[in-house]
Symmetry: C2
Subunit: 382 residues, 2 copies
Amino acid sequence: MIYLDNAATTMHKPPCVTDAMIQALTSLGNASRGAHEGALQSNRLIYRARRTLADFFGCPESEKVIFTSNSTEALNIAIQGTLRKGDHVVTTVLEHNSVLRPLYRMEQECGITLDFTPADARGCIDYEQLAHLIRKDTRAIVCTHASNLTGNMVDIARVGQLAKEHGLLLIVDASQTAGAVPIDMEQMGISILCFTGHKSMMGPQGTGGMCIHGEIEVEPLKEGGSGVQSFLTRQPREYPTRLEAGTLNGHGIAGLLAAAEFINETGIDVIHTHEMALTRRFYERVVHIPDVTVYGDFEATTRSPIVALNIGDLDSAIVADELAYSYGIATRAGAHCAPLMHKALGTGEQGAVRFSFGYFNTPDECDEAAEAVEQIAQRMHQ
Amino acid sequence: MIYLDNAATTMHKPPCVTDAMIQALTSLGNASRGAHEGALQSNRLIYRARRTLADFFGCPESEKVIFTSNSTEALNIAIQGTLRKGDHVVTTVLEHNSVLRPLYRMEQECGITLDFTPADARGCIDYEQLAHLIRKDTRAIVCTHASNLTGNMVDIARVGQLAKEHGLLLIVDASQTAGAVPIDMEQMGISILCFTGHKSMMGPQGTGGMCIHGEIEVEPLKEGGSGVQSFLTRQPREYPTRLEAGTLNGHGIAGLLAAAEFINETGIDVIHTHEMALTRRFYERVVHIPDVTVYGDFEATTRSPIVALNIGDLDSAIVADELAYSYGIATRAGAHCAPLMHKALGTGEQGAVRFSFGYFNTPDECDEAAEAVEQIAQRMHQ
């Protein structure tokens, strides 16, 4: 199988990830619960993972790196845990349902109000329009770092500057970018960064987290055992315990740590350059195929390694099935949990076929995939 | 290291668990996202895990097996997702903070009321007293299956009968019993069973879940991508999607499935008999040591494989450290996140040293541990 669905999950992990998990599965106790060697080994691992990820994302305090089961959980905690009745939120039509649904819920049940920054036909937002949506009662900007559908990136540093000027929280969904492009919360002005472990970070599923910058009060979604301060009737207020109830996924975090170390050793710039070359190579071929429509902004200096396209008016699911079953090429079709982006692109009915590239893909795989698209497009006319 | 902290997490997993996770780490796509072989393999695995766990726990509908990151998350969903203002809840002093803190939160913030079934000096609850706490406005009984401190089990079938008679929800915390003793939701009258994967189930950390019996409306804590019905503004209402936002921990679930299959193949009765023999063997030796106080009910026909004790008035943490560093024996000291149980036993200050046995422990290890307790107790008098 040629796996080009890395934006859903990276199927090929660096071997060190598996090795670290095997090691963890035979040696870890329960972090923060007990003082024997097994528990301490787990503590040390978790501590090292927090430190590594804090450095990785430019989060000044490693105790404000919170582990969650995926970025959806992180986004739910960030959104539900900070926004309150009367708050106005500016977001964008690029967002994934992991941002939209928590926001809609808060709008319907908790009295927040929402405004959406629109996108143009290429799926790009207008920063002037975003700025104009900010009001007196605006409390936060909630914004993806890159569209999971088009791969277009948002200039977060620019949005961060706006947020700073207006004293707003900036909550960023880095599901598509963490591990794929450098992120520095401090420099970019991000208040809360939400990331997943199993996509470009190349770690295992069941991992992810959020990094909190500075003094932000985030209320937990869940309370429970904390291993410390057991006689408090409520979750302790200190980070990270405050947002981490119950046993952490030590085995998964071991894999995530190994993955982050792999990226550091390889160089995130090396990874990004490789993935951009693959993306560009594939794009340059498919964009010239008659009847193929490619979505997104390929003039941008940087983007995430995604090419979304349609062939004529063929249902995207039919194209993806054909790619999978006749060519052994794994892509993703359909709506991609990004309903407003589809509306902006006019692909609500058709969906789109998304090719997403990862560090372990090769130029040959790109060529094979482009060749397959060409053949399917040709067959349309037979 | 002699690992006797299995009630915190089982450090020794069946080899098939590691094998299944290695396999998953090199072959799984993202479940419910895409239709290529990687995604389908993930779908099939998750489906098989739901079926296996539904059978394992006697849950009539496998789509009502919900995966969570641990039992704390499951308990938070069960408690926050069902209880509403004005509801009265009966619980017990045996509960872990993963039950207590969500209940206290609902009491403080959402207007539920709570009553606690007390325990006697052995840590046993009185079922008559529990029954007397039920009022007209009682909506649910929230109850552990076994105390994580003493190992005493609650007769859930009896509580289930009570719940049925009064038309109450019965939410059970099976953190200490899932995988250790047979559980049948149907027979025991359990409405929602919450379990963890990394303790007696012998699966990886980061796994767990809840099983819902019949027509119960449980509201989600989190909303987000569901891979289906992307144009709905809110989380779809169908189980399991309703309670599973974002990418599942496919790699962890692969390990959990292998662990459940291991238990099925070995026989849960065989495992329980082995663990009870180890518990009894250790108990019989330590109970006769002067200055040793053992907590819990060892007359009961069944219990979970735990022996909690103190030596004189020695701080439990000092004893556990001595066991760890002089004898290489891993136990857990302190409060065990069970504050009300400690109050009932009068061990709030001292804590207790908990020895908890697992399937991979041996009689020799029990003897060594008992010998160590004896030596520490003797040294007290020197």
